[in-house]
Symmetry: C2
């Protein structure tokens, strides 16, 4: 069928065309089926949307991507024919029916996902099927390899690559900014890629971006790592696992993550990591609540590591409260910098966590007491020096001072209405409030937790401080901070944790001061 | 956040807006999350898409539906804020996690589906979860009720409503066109709604449309049924189960149908049916292959019927070959008309099937030997007279003659290369070829099967005849008919049914003559 092109001022990641309903019926294609469009010597398979008004009979509506790919003008004639779905759809259906997929079938699905040949409905069916039926270890390994192979990879001179991953969940977890310089200063190669925040107020890429550019090309990453042994860059800019980004978009609205293992492992594989430490924050306020859950997840990481020729060590870390005190990109970058500048004044739990994780990698490299060696690197200022080297190599200001890192001008202090000890801190509420204040989009927004679990508190002591850049966001965060139960101060932990439905007249714990 | 409206020349069923990435980040919303748009006194919740170019910072791109609903012009300012997802999303996640849903939760999901408040990804997650985890009988009943209650319903004077449903799968199944007049002529009320073809060359609505209009309003349906006791209309036009249409769009590309039972039952409930016969074609070429499968499915229909206060009777019918001879809308309408005009010359299996199913309903009404009574209605010409009454009441020509129903002018006969008996006919291949010839879009396209299972065939006898309207489609169907193994003629059934991989040099069974 010959159709006249109509340009739609629309962008889509996938090749999508819009047909008039009559033409679609004539071609025998339904919405979300495919057509092949031929123009001169070019052929494109596109997913069909159907309209009744905006595209008339005899027309074909083209999104910008297809306009460019066909190198065509409006009102030209293209030949359009029904096209078969990609073979990978049959493999998705196989998984949907609870069958196990082999290496080639998984590769086919991942390849077609990355090449935008599958519709959102088809990808969603794949994601929910993996979630519902689970994945075998072989499938997980295949997924990891396929996600790696359909993206770019980092090829460094050395073959002894070290890496770390945290499954996340703790607000203020700026560990990588302290950890990477320690490992790099020890002479180990650690090309660390990090993510931006998805549901949290800051990802490591958002944090480190306050100190140096993090959107580097693969060539720049290679240069930085060859020079300093380490880096702290945003994984998205080096396009190591494009399939993962597509799956995240589907997983996020459904709050499911069947790709946790392949997602992590594919990124480690893409930098050719040989030794990996996995940080699994554990506890009441974390993704992993119990030691049993930790052991289950750690066992999976270790098994999948074996299949991918990686040595994996998992560490269960205290996940019941924020790491250090600062939450929000600028505040966290400042705290990490201050901690390495002067470890005696720095956040103790941050140093403890960073050196514990670095110690694991040092022991992989043959060092006897890894943690002690890591602490030594911090205490002698070597890690601090290395941090500045990395900042400079990535194009940041190597002389950056903590006072250059200025949080938002709108602030409010929240004071305790009673004396006692901090009994608990809600990680979730900290995240919500810091995001409401504007983080991570407003890098200057966030909060500083002045008192941590077990700290003594007197009535009137500041519990936490809120920072924001914009008035509207500040007011919204302020209101929320007053409503939510972020921290609780008391004489002792009571047996009663919570009551449902909550009493409305419950005593407020905060006095506000602006 | 205040944003300036930009009009997109785009239609969508859902309320969708496009935000610039920076504004979306600022609002803290990700693609497929929601915003609330306020303009004057109107408020709309819309699903967010994100663009980097076509919508600039400070702009909001509006689809046509939202333009109309807000009654707004381009370049006006609207207030935009992040909005929570509908509560039904939590219930979808519950089902995704394998939990059972209650009546209210299911109603909430179906209501939000019909009101376009859920994204395709969310609806897909629901559909695949129902498929993966299955549904309890209570869930099936809740789904049926919710699908009925979120659509329109037909309220007739009588409370004794009769109905039929076929799960489909047989090409040429024009049974309803013979069956409805029989039941209506017996004095029973049967407001039959039918579907258009989805994957087949003709649905009953497509067939009957060759005799009379089938897109009637609910008021017109009421009038027709009150006058004639029956009707044959397209279910889509009376909007009885709009949720079902939305789910079908998701199910179709995935070839799954977890809504089979609620889909059927909701439509029967919507016409207030009390007695229903379900036709389940069974056999090698059917959706249901074995008697065991039939009993399993029939048991479910009967159980769900009890929950919905309906008396259900399921009939396993021969599903191994097309019903009658004609396949394709015009050809089938002609065959049905001819069969009722002159039952002695009509298709025997068609009369057998229609009277068997009608007999079940007649027995529900108290008649002793239902099948015999149904045959009597055919033989005395009462069914034929009733058919013409219904055609007239729906606005068709009551004097329509078989010769008015003219199939496509492009024809080809396929002759047998050997003598013997017809050993098998491939339903699937018949469907594919008739569709390739243009059916159901080209109503005149299709095929006539001259020889049925067990019929004696001499070398050179015509096995089937192909009809098409358009040359391109005719040639394509012709080519396919030559390639596929539609019918096999032989002396006796051999033990070998099929060999994989097939021998390429396999003997062709057809001689072509145009």
């Amino acid at each position: 069928m010959l159709l006249r092109t109509k340009f739609l001022e629309l962008e889509a990641e996938k090749p999508i065309v819009i047909l008039n309903k009559d033409d679609a019926d004539d071609l025998g294609v339904k919405p979300l089926e495919r057509v092949e469009i031929s123009f001169k010597r070019k052929k494109i398979i596109a997913i069909v949307n159907v309209a009744e008004r905006i595209v008339r009979e005899g027309e074909i509506g083209l999104y910008e991507e297809i306009q460019e790919e066909l190198d065509i003008k409006p009102d030209e004639r293209v030949s359009v024919a029904a096209a078969a779905p990609p073979v990978s759809l049959a493999f998705i259906k196989k998984k949907l029916n609870g069958q196990t997929l082999d290496d080639k079938e998984i590769y086919s699905i991942i390849e077609d996902t990355v090449n935008h040949k599958l519709s959102d409905i088809e990808i969603t069916a794949f994601v929910t099927s993996l979630y519902n039926h689970g994945t075998t270890m072989n499938e997980t390994a295949s997924l990891s390899r396929a996600i790696t192979e359909t993206g770019r990879t980092l090829d460094l001179r050395t073959k002894e690559i070290y890496d770390k991953h945290s499954i996340g969940g703790c607000p203020g977890d700026k560990t990588s900014i302290v950890f990477v310089p320690i490992v790099a200063a020890a002479g180990l190669t650690i090309p660390k890629t990090s993510s931006r925040a998805i549901t949290s107020p800051a990802g490591t890429a958002d944090r480190f971006e306050c100190l140096a550019p993090v959107e580097l090309t693969l060539e720049e990453v290679r240069r930085v790592v060859n020079k300093t042994n380490g880096c702290l860059v945003w994984g998205g800019s080096v396009d190591l696992a494009p399939a993962d980004d597509i799956f995240i978009k589907i997983e996020y609205p459904l709050s499911i993550d069947p790709f946790l293992l392949p997602s992590v492992m594919s990124k480690k594989k893409a930098v050719n990591a040989k030794y990996v430490v996995i940080d699994i924050p554990t506890g009441r306020e974390s993704k992993v609540s119990t030691n049993e859950e930790f052991e289950l997840l750690a066992g999976k990481f270790i098994d999948i590591g074996k299949k991918l020729n990686m040595k994996i060590n998992c560490v269960s870390t205290l996940g019941e409260q924020p790491i250090g005190h600062a939450v929000g990109p600028v505040l966290e970058a400042r705290e990490a910098l201050q901690t390495l500048m002067n470890h005696r004044k720095g956040a103790k739990d941050l140093i403890d966590k960073a050196t514990t994780l670095a110690g694991v990698l040092l022991e992989f490299s043959g060092v006897k007491n890894g943690k002690k060696a890591a602490l030594h690197i911090v205490n002698t200022g070597k890690a601090y020096k290395k941090l500045r080297e990395i900042i400079e190599a990535q194009g940041g200001n190597p002389d950056v001072k903590p006072s250059d890192l200025v949080p938002g001008p709108k602030t409010a202090e929240f004071k305790s209405a009673c004396s006692g000890r901090v009994l608990w801190i809600s990680n979730k509420d900290v995240d919500i409030i810091a995001r409401d204040a504007g983080a991570p989009k407003d890098k200057e927004a966030g909060m500083v937790i002045m008192k941590k679990l077990g700290d003594k508190v007197k009535r009137g002591d500041v519990l936490f401080k809120l920072y924001a850049r914009k008035t509207g966001k500040f007011n919204r965060a302020l209101k929320l901070a007053e409503e939510l139960d972020i921290m609780r101060v008391g004489k002792e932990r009571k047996m009663e944790l919570e009551k449902l439905p909550a009493k409305k007249e419950e005593e407020k714990y905060f006095i506000l001061e602006r």
